[in-house]
């Protein structure tokens, strides 16, 4: 029983982090109709900057805050210099350009911090486990869940309750109409991009101590974030949240529980090998199934 609860908590934790990535991606995708493969690179930058700043600042929190602002600035700069010229181009040009940005980003990181993975230590305060009704659960993961939930709530409030959020939603459902109604789309895009980059950095900094901080970390998670975006419906924050929790659950539960379940049928070595594979495959089966029955995703933003 306790492993089930632990797996579920891990699933929520991973799902929320995916949500931070997918939220920015879905807005960029939905509002600007832009495929940004370089989104994962911003996540990598967030993680590396945090890892690099922990030592000089002496505090995880401070390092993370500086990394967030720096990544947001990088994102906005990128938008203003390169990506802005790509909105009017077809998806293929966007794929090529942002793929080029991945190469550049990876190499810049490798030049500055070297090819070896970096370790990002857990913040001292959260290095031990906590007791959750008899289950020993790492307090850091609980913190990640807490921060993830808080950011998700904050994002929801910003998008659903503020004027800026209204512009964003208007832009996502009909860009031309929003422009005609006087929304400064150009500035809005830059701000949305900065926000997306900031969320990437939050995920990068928080996941840094759990996964390893290395070149290429962005590529593997990027595709999962795209899967989330497509499952949830392009441009929909609500869909991104639902999708990321589904994907996070399927992934983690598949990794931890499927081997045990298979172990009753197959030999342990086969089961432990098959589990992660099945989990990885299940995610894509989930997406293919959603696309098959609801081609617009679960919560389509465009009416």
């Amino acid at each position: 029983m306790s492993t089930v609860i632990e797996a579920a908590l891990n699933g929520v934790q991973f799902g929320l982090m995916l949500f931070l990535l997918a939220a920015g991606l879905t807005l960029v995708f939905g509002i600007m109709d832009m495929i940004n493969l370089a989104h994962g690179s911003l996540y990598m930058f967030g993680a590396y900057l945090t890892a690099a700043l922990v030592e000089p600042t002496g505090s995880f929190l401070l390092a993370m805050l500086v990394a967030l602002l720096a990544t947001a600035a990088i994102g906005m700069l990128l938008e203003m210099t390169v990506l802005r010229t790509l909105y009017q181009r077809d998806h293929l040009s966007q794929v090529l350009a942002t793929f080029a940005l991945i190469l550049i980003g990876n190499e810049v990181v490798r030049m500055i911090w070297g090819p070896q993975p970096r370790r990002l230590a857990l913040p001292e305060l959260f290095s031990g486990p906590v007791d959750l009704a008899g289950i020993q659960y790492p307090s850091y993961r609980l913190l990640v869940i807490g921060v993830g939930l808080a950011v998700a709530l904050l994002l929801y409030l910003v998008v659903a309750r503020t004027r800026g959020g209204m512009w964003v939603r208007a832009g996502a459902s009909n860009r031309e109409m929003a422009t005609v109604m006087g929304v400064d789309i150009k500035r809005l895009f830059t701000l949305v991009f900065g926000l997306g980059a900031l969320l990437c950095a939050v995920a990068g900094a928080l996941l840094g101590p759990l996964l390893s901080v290395q070149v290429g970390m962005g590529e593997s998670i990027l595709i999962l974030a795209f899967v989330v975006v497509v499952i949830g419906g392009i441009g929909s924050i609500r869909g991104a949240l639902a999708g990321s929790l589904m994907v996070g659950m399927v992934d983690t539960v598949g990794r931890t529980l499927v081997p045990g379940a298979l172990g009753t049928v197959f030999s342990p070595s086969v089961a432990s090998n098959l589990g992660p594979t099945l989990a990885s495959i299940l995610i894509y089966v989930l997406m293919a199934a959603v696309l098959f029955w609801k081609p617009q995703g679960l919560f389509p933003a465009r009416g």
Binding site: L101, L103, M111, I223, V285
Partner: protein
């Protein structure tokens, strides 16, 4: 937009072919035999990229999982060899057939979706296959598996010689490009391009739109499978990495770089990307940085790929 009539004149074709035939002799004379290997690699990826171009450029279906067929072809050869079947005349057609079958299955499901969703669903299938092969421990799992030798060629040809292998690849590529030229200029190819331009209208006129798109997808999958068989032979090993999304991405980059919907877009793009990689990686350890900058410049300044520049220059 790429022009509709794209026939390489006999003269240009003959000159290019003659150059390709003479290339190993020249490389050998200069003492740069290594370049024969690179050229063979370029031609293999030219085949793979051209097959993607058929789908993406002529059919307007942006497939982000094309590396799946490459990988399936490669694994078919490796698994057959593992089972003791090393004859190229069995293994290579088998690789083509298995990849075409996979394309038929994947296409049947994927082609019901449109635009961005098609990109994502083809990606999903490729990633599924990637994880399947990662888990196949009998065939090397994550690390992949080495091939005992290259496939045995008929007529007493020795594939282990890089020179022979080069000419075999050249013959296959030349044949494939000739077939592709016939295909895109035939009724089927014209219908495919018309569907790219206006699917609804073609449906209304009474063309079997879905079947035409699926047929193009299957042909492209088979051709990519054949390219995969050659990749496995050249590298002497196969690994799931052949199917990872970055490999699909790199095939897409080749097509975009050369010119989407230009008959020779895939060939030119493969040559440009692989030569740039080779040259830059010899120059600096951090070769991906200049490569990225070059690609970025290509998007911003050569809007529809290298071949569109050539066309624009020719037509003023």
């Amino acid at each position: 937009m790429a022009p509709l009539d794209q026939i390489l004149s006999r003269r240009t074709g003959a000159v290019l072919l003659a150059l390709a035939v003479a290339f190993p002799l020249g490389a050998d004379w200069l003492g740069q035999g290594f370049y024969v290997d690179l050229a063979a690699r370029i031609m293999i990826f030219a085949l793979a990229a051209s097959s993607l171009n058929l789908v993406m450029g002529f059919g307007g279906m942006v497939c982000f999982g094309h590396a799946a067929f490459l990988g399936i072809g490669a694994y078919t050869v490796a698994i057959l060899m593992d089972a003791g079947v090393d004859a190229a005349w069995i293994a290579w057609p088998a690789a083509t057939a298995v990849a075409a079958l996979a394309a038929w299955l994947i296409g049947t499901v994927s082609l019901r979706t449109r635009v961005v969703y098609f990109i994502m669903i083809t990606l999903a299938f490729a990633q599924m296959l990637y994880y399947v092969f990662v888990s196949l421990n009998a065939y090397g799992g994550d690390d992949g598996m080495p091939l005992a030798a290259r496939s045995a060629l008929p007529f007493g040809l020795d594939a282990s010689s890089d020179l022979t292998f080069y000419y075999v690849v050249l013959a296959i590529l030349a044949l494939a490009m000739w077939l592709m030229q016939r295909l895109v200029n035939a009724r089927f190819g014209r219908a495919l391009q018309a569907i790219r331009e206006n699917e609804t209208r073609m449906e209304a006129i009474g063309y079997p739109v879905f079947r035409i798109k699926l047929a193009a997808f299957v042909i492209a999958g088979g051709a990519a499978g054949l390219a995969g068989a050659l990749v496995a032979n050249q590298a002497g090993m196969v690994s799931p990495g052949l199917m990872y999304w970055t490999q699909s991405g790199s095939l897409m980059i080749m097509v975009i770089l050369g010119g989407v919907g230009y008959l020779y877009g895939g060939v030119v793009g493969a040559a440009l990307l692989l030569v740039a990689e080779e040259y830059l990686s010899g120059l600096t350890l951090y070769w991906q940085l200049p490569l990225g900058i070059l690609l970025l410049a290509a998007v911003l300044y050569a809007r529809n790929g290298a071949l569109s520049l050539a066309t624009r220059w020719r037509h003023g």
